[in-house]
């Protein structure tokens, strides 16, 4: 998935539990060791890196190796124009829990921000929303089903 900050387009490709990160012609392996409120413990190219990230609207405050930068994230619209391969997309469960309700069916057109399904765990609900306009390609879960963290719930595709 490509994200654009200011003039930089950074591309992350899942690679098992890790990622491959690419910028221009550079590519490195990234492992997420831990991530808690505003802090990411990473292993980038074999080296441990702790990063602090705060988000304020489209502004991102990022501190790595003691250097702090304020980056501005480009809109997903711009992202799409920037990135070529942005068709199929999967939504994963952010936490283990039970599917409380499924609000769409396969083939439905969905709009950015629309709630696709609702997860419940420990008496709290989290609404899984569409990151952008698109179409429901595949539903991997049904109401009442228990899901693991990061289990794929639903796949979207371009309209």
């Amino acid at each position: 998935m490509k994200t654009i900050f200011d003039q930089y387009a950074i591309d992350l490709t899942p690679n098992g539990k890790n990622y491959k990160a690419a910028l221009d012609d550079k590519t490195v392996d990234v492992e997420i060791v831990d991530s808690v409120n505003g802090r990411l413990d990473l292993i980038i190219d074999g080296k441990r890196v702790t990063a602090y990230v705060s988000s304020d609207g489209s502004k991102r405050w990022v501190t790595v190796h003691g250097r702090t930068f304020v980056l501005t994230k480009s809109s997903s619209a711009k992202q799409r124009s920037g990135a070529g391969h942005d068709h199929a997309s999967e939504l994963a469960a952010p936490m283990p829990g039970q599917v409380r309700s499924v609000n769409v069916k396969e083939g439905d057109a969905v709009t950015k921000g629309q709630t696709l399904l609702v997860l419940e765990a420990m008496k709290m609900e989290i609404r899984i929303q569409s990151p952008r306009d698109g179409k429901v390609k595949t539903l991997h879960v049904k109401q009442g089903q228990t899901v693991e963290r990061e289990q794929v719930l639903i796949e979207l595709e371009e309209k």
């Binding site: 998935m1 994200t3 900050f5 930089y8 950074i10 992350l12 990622y19 990160a21 910028l23 550079k26 490195v28 990234v30 997420i32 991530s35 409120n37 505003g38 990411l40 990473l42 980038i44 890196v49 990063a51 602090y52 990230v53 705060s54 988000s55 304020d56 609207g57 991102r60 405050w61 990022v62 501190t63 790595v64 190796h65 003691g66 250097r67 702090t68 930068f69 304020v70 980056l71 994230k73 939504l91 952010p94 709290m124 609900e125 989290i126 609404r127 899984i128 929303q129 990151p131």
Partner: protein, 494 residues
């Protein structure tokens, strides 16, 4: 000893003084403005009194309200901290006439040193070297004559001044009028007093000050120097002790001059005698005396091993020094970096906002004096000083190394700070060689912020993934859980 002290200040210095009070078994009273309702210095105190609106005139500069707060809480002493009313002689007098103890020098000492022109005359009398110049003149012609006599470049500065306000460097005669007029305007605004004095401007000068300390029994010592030459807009950003410039001989001479200067105004409690030193001639000149605890006092505490804030209180309570000058020594090296909410890439303009993340460095020989925590608002009402980062090391190299590591461990999100800038100053050869004058930042050090590294962009992109499809969390506010029950003092009533 006092039983309760009111601290007429805010931020890191208010907290630092309250710590000293608590360690001496003294109750503390905080005062605060409406902008500081939940400020750490208020929560740190035993009691707290609201002064009024955020504007300093309505709060931290309001003498009557502060004295009333002290009366109301039955405090028996007031500590002014630095800035605000700390060098205001009328405040010190008002505290006295309210039968409270002012923790600082006498109103007379403050008054005598507060006027740059008058103090300069006194120093000449006391045999303390002063910068060639003229005071007590008014007409442009007088200034012209004086400038010609001492030679350009010259500095015109407010007689009532301080903190770099009402100060102009004039390179040549044609610019003199404009310099005088703008300095006058600024002086009038800042101090309600447009009197100016003129002196020789030394472009490569180092700013070196001496900490002096006197008890009320006639003992007056100095606690050695602080080198404060790294400045921007005439304001210090890095201080250290010992000074890399001074020789033992010069240190001895200047220390004696500092004590003489303080004695000339019958000084007691903590004060600082500022000198400028010309590295070419190694001549030193009296600049001014700050009649209060200095922002940068912690470097002296590290190297001399005394707690200056505690001693201010003990002296005010009438204690005698148990030590003499010969008992005092410098050991190791200490550096302070002032962490400001300001943008070095944009003329050091203050940056305001909410602290989204605020994480301080820690470790052996690392000290942080700070007045803010995550979630606090940095407003435009007050000084943009976020915190002071101070380190000790066996020698200057180790202290620089330690400071660099500590700066790298500092995380501030929500306001732009000078932390990256400070790292690059410390890494610069001129700083390593101690070869930095007060104009070095403006004239020699052309700082540019670095470009974000690959790692930085990777981290930003990864964080993006984690927030793309969950909106239950107000990440912006950076309050990990805005719905925490803790935010709800009485959800259930019965």
């Amino acid at each position: 000893m006092f039983s309760k002290i009111l601290i007429a200040n805010r931020g890191e210095i208010a907290i630092r003084i309250m710590r000293a009070c608590k360690e001496l078994g003294i109750q503390t009273v905080a005062v605060y403005s409406e902008a500081d309702r939940n400020a750490p210095h208020v929560q740190f105190a035993d009691e707290a009194i609201l002064l009024g609106a955020p504007s300093p005139k309505e709060s931290y500069l309001n003498i009557d309200k502060i004295i009333n707060a002290a009366r109301q809480t039955k405090a028996d002493a007031i500590h002014p901290g630095y800035g605000f009313l700390s060098e205001n002689a009328s405040f010190a007098a008002a505290v006295d006439s309210a039968k409270l103890t002012f923790i600082g020098p006498s109103a007379d000492s403050i008054r005598a040193m507060g006027d740059k022109a008058e103090s300069k005359i006194r120093m000449k009398k006391a045999g303390v070297p002063t910068v060639p110049g003229a005071e007590g003149i008014e007409s442009e012609d007088d200034f012209k004559r004086a400038a010609k006599e001492i030679g350009y470049p010259v500095l015109v500065k407010a007689a009532a001044g301080g903190g770099g306000k009402g100060m102009r460097v004039v390179e040549k005669e044609s610019e003199l009028r404009e310099g005088i007029e703008s300095a006058r305007r600024e002086a009038l605004n800042a101090f309600g007093d447009e009197r100016l004095l003129i002196e020789k401007y030394l472009p490569n000068a180092h700013h070196i000050e001496f900490q002096v300390f006197g008890d009320k029994h006639g003992n007056l010592v100095h606690l050695f120097e602080r080198e404060c030459s790294v400045q921007r807009r005439h304001q210090k950003i890095i201080e250290e002790t010992p000074s890399p410039l001074l020789t033992p001989q010069l240190r001895k001479e200047m220390g004696e001059a500092a004590v003489a200067a303080a004695k000339a105004v019958a000084y007691f409690n903590a004060g600082t005698v500022e000198f400028i030193v010309d590295p070419d001639t190694m001549k030193y000149y009296f600049l001014e005396m700050n009649t209060r605890l200095q922002v940068e006092h912690p470097v002296t505490e590290f190297v001399v091993g005394l707690d200056l804030a505690q001693w201010q209180i003990r002296i005010a309570a009438g204690e005698k020094f148990p030590f003499a000058q010969k008992d005092l020594t410098q050991r190791g090296h200490a550096i302070e970096c002032r962490v400001y909410a300001e943008d070095p890439a944009n003329g050091f303009l203050p940056s305001t906002g909410k602290l989204l993340q605020y994480i301080e460095p820690r470790g052996p020989s690392i000290r942080v004096d700070s007045g803010f925590i995550t979630g606090n608002e940095i407003t435009h009402f007050y000084d943009p000083l976020l915190a002071k980062l101070i380190v000790y090391g066996e020698n200057r190299d180790i202290a620089i190394q330690r400071m660099n590591g500590a700066l790298k461990d500092y995380v501030v999100h929500g306001v732009i700070t000078n932390i990256d800038f400070l790292q690059d100053v410390l890494a610069h050869d001129d700083f390593k060689n101690g070869d930095v004058s007060t104009r070095w930042v403006e004239t020699k050090f052309n700082w540019k912020p670095a470009k974000p590294s690959f790692e930085t962009l990777i981290a930003a992109a990864l964080a993006e993934q984690t927030i793309t499809n969950i909106k239950t969390q107000n990440v912006n506010s950076n309050e990990p859980d805005p719905y925490s029950p803790w935010k709800n003092p009485n959800g259930f009533r019965n």
